[in-house]
Amino acid sequence: MTFLSKLGTNFNYVISTLLFVIGLYTIITKPNLIKKFMGLNIMETSVFLAIVSIGAVRDGKAPIVESATKVQYVNPLPQALILTGIVVAVSTTALALSLMIKLYEQCGTLNADKLKEFE
């Protein structure tokens, strides 16, 4: 199988890595802290997309067993892990944003370059 056709089959991973790189680029180059955190959220969801895609099965049904007949289900384990991950992600976002509110009350800026001058 050639390189490109493999990438075509694994297209979810390609998009997931691209989103990871975009999020990392946002974190590195944008000075604003809120923007940095949006980039971090994009990185988080890209990792979630990669992990859920690992468990995907072609024509698989959602893992809810309704009858005893043999049906091809998708992998439920990554879904259970990512479900906890999403809620932890929003918890960290809330904590970081409340710290930003306090920081703005104290310093009057959220620009990381300007915050260097405060000591």
Binding site: I15, V87, T109
Partner: protein, 81 residues
């Protein structure tokens, strides 16, 4: 398998992520981020993960966006300061 829909959704994810990067107005960026989360919820429905789709639609598009909005309204809307 409706792979055309998957392709469009995944490309839309990349477009919204670049939109979040390029938007100078933080309020607009937060709203584009909400669209990103909602698209992610549909992607998860396409990957047969209904539990994740429900959580992402409520948490990602709802709660996270509102927290971003409340932070922007209490601090600043422009990216430079």
């Amino acid at each position: 398998m409706v792979w055309h829909l998957d392709l469009v959704l995944l490309l839309f994810l990349v477009a919204t992520a670049i939109g979040v990067y390029r938007t100078k107005d933080l309020l607009g960026a937060a709203i584009i981020f909400s669209a990103y989360s909602l698209t992610m919820a549909i992607v998860w429905q396409q990957l047969s993960a209904p539990d994740l789709a429900l959580t992402e639609a409520a948490v990602g598009a709802g709660v996270t966006t509102v927290l971003f909005l409340i932070t922007i309204s209490r601090t600043t809307r422009r990216e430079d300061d």
